[in-house]
Subunit: 396 residues, 4 copies
């Protein structure tokens, strides 16, 4: 997969500035990824995909793409993540879950399915499924920050499931893009990650057949087993920020090395910091990815414990990666000097893109502090961010 | 002057987002500043201006503007800086220098003169004045990063003076915008400070009368007396970054205080850091400004020593202000969360604007390290950045 | 006062290493300070003292001493602090408070009174005064971290006042060192500040006459007016850490400047950071001291508001001073290299001494985060550390 | 080996405070390590040792010891390092080198040889071997910072080799402790690492047989192949600082978790930083150790390139480990509060011990900046610290 992706890296890099400026989505790049099978990279081979299941490998591919354009990598991550989590569902789920997962995975491999996750509610709405009275479900609400949306053929919509007389639970409903009541809104206009195709979707009484709903746990159950799937779903994004930092490093070192005069003292200090921080960033990410890969295959022990043992190193690494990537990009800007401050200079895009990492779940910086300190100090807490978001919105 | 400026602050704030997006210059704001006398704020009262000569006061005004829009403050700084340095020339210069300064200052006060400084050569050209053979001068070259240029009526162009048989010296030539051979290029498209009207100018054999050239020292003379004027010219920019940090702080504290739930641990830690860092930033800037004000009026001692005693605290404070302002804005983004990452959110503009400070002379971060360490360790060095830039370009 | 102290600075510096090693208290230095009137430096002139009431001046004197030895400065601070707060009581207190304050201040000026504050309870005991049934009080408990204790003639013991049927209040009882039931324990053996004469005292039913008790507020009253006195009592300690940082800076710059070879890049970067950080540290401390001096003389407004307006800048500056002083000392160690790591090298003492600032009230780092974030976000909280400590110990 | 060491860890931990205070060397611990074979841990099995050749494993053992006492780990490292480098000489050296290495390794395994390295010249002397005229050598000079010296049976003395008419080269001479002219001086009295048995040795015309001298390269040859051996010799010390940070972490988390009240916001933030920084520290160290292990066994390519490819990641990780370990210990002190500032508290020892890492070769912080920036920017430089130290001392 890395080899396939690397064929396109130069072209992606060349187009990045224009797409960043306009905020357009690189449709052509993703058409190529659909053509050459990259979009089915994490679909199991038995179902027609390339069968890359190793999280470290996925992160390596995303890093290579992100070195050229972080927005493209972020959108690609969405599809990869879907393949990884659906493959788990296909291997370990109940019969109906397996059936749904298989259908979607086969579609990704042979029918050009592009499947986005829609997690975060728009601040104006709460997304809910309710029984339609005929054994199916009705889905209404509004989602935001759905990357890769321009090409989406399906959305996996994370939602509350509200049934009279039952506690509120979490669920994920799979919707076809053509579903009546679904509107895709090109709403994103961000500081960075501008070409990631990050849109919103409005859901107005969309019908969802019973077999297209994945049922999750009770809200507020403080179940930590969900942390495993959330780790798998998101940890490969560490590769994106490694790629961003590496791109910045190469630009800065190149600029400094081309100057005819001996480098000033400050530049040597900055370059040394850049090298060490980039190394540390990559080592942290690699360690957390290796840990997740190891635990990902092992379902023998306590599943809550497994969830925590995947998430804690991920979050330790995420904090480090977020900080170090920002620090590397900043130091690179200082090395390059005023030229890097031009809107057309790639460093100015990296300076904006790199900041996205702090806001991504699981966890934002603020939530990570609660999670990591809670784990270290033995404080009970709902660690499932999909669950505590629902609780928080209910409290408002 | 502060009172006058504060009348416009709300309007400036409201328009900042649109101008940032388009990169247009806020012509209307500056027309108002021309109308109400703010643009003559630092012109001596005797010459018709408001007579604000205290650097701390000027910085306070710039901070108030920068809280609303940093680009506007940066452009306003250009005119203020011109008033401050020309007032010095008018008070302490030789007879021809006094005459030129008086003409320009009176023009600022009563003829709506807008006078930009043009310091940095475009990377493609070296700017030089040479004798025109008739007692005057010919000016050619290209300048970049000239803020406030859309409204400029005059440019003070810093240049090498090249006369056969003499060592190269520095000079500043005053050019009317209508001078034949002068072209103003709207070239700036920056990561931040997008509405500062930062253009380039091309100089193609412009004639400059003898009396419109200010003669400065020999290139490479290692004269430190020039540091005094360079401090006066630039130190009030510390106020701009204080204003940026304060604007970010108010947004973040406001957002956090409005939330109904008790603030999470990380938010309390970030808020505490923001408060302390903003305080420290402002205290550093205020101390360096007070020091500059004190020495500015005292010409009794060694002038090289005076130059160093103005520049060292300025640079100590500039390093701190640059770092702390960036840190405050970053912490504010983390407090606000993903909403602050939208291109339309004011924090996302502040995140881009705040980074400009590191590149501004005197000194960029890299040069400041050489200067401060050189002063502490007793290392001889050409501290005049206009001089060593000429030397550096000659070495290429 | 500064001139008097500077006469002894060289001798103090020479003796610092030996006292640090042994942990002995510099009795001779303080005998000299008693002889030459320094120990009455903050006693009003009308009562026979030197009448230094300006907090900035006191901090300057402490910084000069701390440059030579931080332990000595810390112990001297204790007496200065007593003079400052008793002078306030003498000027603004009720008649019995004025009488007590006058007696103690006159004793400091003419009878060599050395008056220590005893604030922190030993972890094994709660200190309480209770009525003795004859109009006086009985004081029992145990205090720790009482600096300057070897020379103390009196102790001002902060305590709970427990009277049947009344809410618990705070009080301060003045005890003569010869009081029956009082034992002074030379218990301190610290990482740093080893020569500060920091002992413990055990109180076993000590009788205190009614007129020697200062009555303070109710525990848990959330009264912020007490913050003014707590600021006055402690803010001059910022000078101690400024002195520590300056001493480290001078050692490091001296060592680097003496080396024959051109300084390596890393040394230039470190030196630049040291200069900027020391400047910033001093500017922050000076700003907070000037603010406290200004408000100290103004009792016209809301006293709770005055308390907060003194404490907030103090805490902003304290966080900055603690961080920057540690950073400066660390950078200096790196500049000096392995030689600075020897136990006999003054930098190794500074490395240990500088860390004390983080633990000093008001506030420790942990409490300062709660205070500053609480103030910024409008969160109600008991800001009086003497009060909330009592509440916390009651909760155990 | 880890299992053997862990038997002693509790005892080492219990004794650490007393040895730190007195500065005595833990002779008993090392007698046990001689008895149970740990001191021959890195000696090849064929020669009677335990045959641990994996650098990652050695670092793991040192980390376990350092968690109990860093001084002990530092001294143990000396012997481990000797085994590792001599094993390389035994496998890859010329016939006489192999013979010498075999003799020493067999001695370590079965004759309780304890072999110290003596690298750094005392500032008063330059150490040199010169021909004795009879085919052997005479060694004179003075060395400092020789850890594990109290038990040493042999010293490997790094020295200049000065022969008339030849360029100065580097060499290492093996001396028996009983060699006439050799004096061991218990000179160390450090801020930290106080029980590491770090002494000096004076060499006054010591005779060294020809076969006991290892001949190295020409001074100033800019040969990078030596970096491989220097990496092997020192990289396992990363484990020591990992152990120090882990010990601090356990103390702080334990203290915070034991407190009855909910942790304050600042404590949660600090704990989160501690967890992330410790993770990152360990990940960096592990990555550099794995890289060194991989290249250690591969002599097929360019040996200079191999040297650089071992040293660059080592230095990237060393910078990170030094910074992060210091940061973790500092944060732990803040969490624990004033109690941790007592001289008898283990954190106060860790605060002193952790700072040693910055001064250790290869490279000190200052040299690492030159090395890493030089590598990134393609600047030629003598990277062999033993060589450039000789050049620097010659330049004085």
């Amino acid at each position: 997969m890395l080899a396939l992706v690397e064929q396109d890296v130069a072209r992606i890099r060349d187009g990045a500035a224009a797409l960043d400026r306009s905020g357009e989505f690189p449709v052509e790049t993703f058409e190529r990824f659909l053509d050459n099978g990259v979009m089915a990279g994490t679909v199991p081979e038995e179902l027609g995909g390339m069968g890359v299941s190793c999280l470290s490998d996925v992160a390596t591919v995303l890093a290579a793409v992100a070195e050229a354009d972080a927005s493209t990598a972020l959108a690609l991550h969405v599809q990869f993540s879907r393949g990884l989590t659906l493959a788990y569902d296909w291997q370990h789920g109940s019969a109906p879950v397996r059936a749904l997962a298989e259908r979607l995975l086969r579609g990704m491999a042979s029918e050009r399915f592009v499947i986005c996750g829609a997690v975060k509610d728009h601040h104006t709405a709460v997304t809910r499924v309710t029984p339609d009275g005929r054994g199916g479900w009705l889905l209404s609400g509004r989602k935001t920050l759905v990357s890769l949306a321009p090409l989406a053929t399906h959305f996996v919509v994370h939602t509350q499931k509200v049934v009279d007389g039952e506690p509120v639970t979490l669920a994920a409903a799979v919707l076809d893009r053509s579903a009546p009541g679904l509107t895709v809104l090109p709403e994103w206009d961000g500081l960075g990650m501008r070409a990631s195709g990050t849109y919103g979707i409005v859901l107005d009484g969309c019908r969802v057949p019973a077999e297209d709903v994945l049922h999750r746990g009770v809200v507020g159950a403080h179940s930590d087993r969900a942390l495993a799937g959330q780790t798998v779903s998101s940890i490969t994004m560490l590769g994106i920020y490694a790629g961003v930092a590496r791109a910045a490093r190469d630009i800065a070192i190149g600029a400094a090395a081309r100057r005819p005069a001996a480098p000033p003292a400050a530049v040597r200090g900055l370059v040394s910091d850049i090298e060490s921080n980039l190394y540390t960033l990559q080592a942290s990410a690699a360690a957390a990815l290796a840990n997740a890969d190891e635990l990902n295959d092992d379902l023998t022990g306590d599943l809550d414990e497994r969830g925590r043992r995947m998430m804690v190193p991920f979050q330790c690494a995420k904090l480090a990666v977020n900080r170090l990537a920002l620090s590397v990009v900043n130091d690179c800007l200082t090395v390059v000097g005023g030229a890097g401050y031009g809107a057309a200079h790639p460093l100015s895009r990296l300076y904006r893109d790199v900041r996205a990492g702090w806001f991504m779940q699981p966890y934002t910086y603020v939530d990570a502090v609660d999670f990591l300190s809670g784990q270290a100090l033995g404080i009970d807490r709902d660690n499932d961010y999909m669950s505590y978001r629902v609780s928080a919105s209910a409290a408002r």
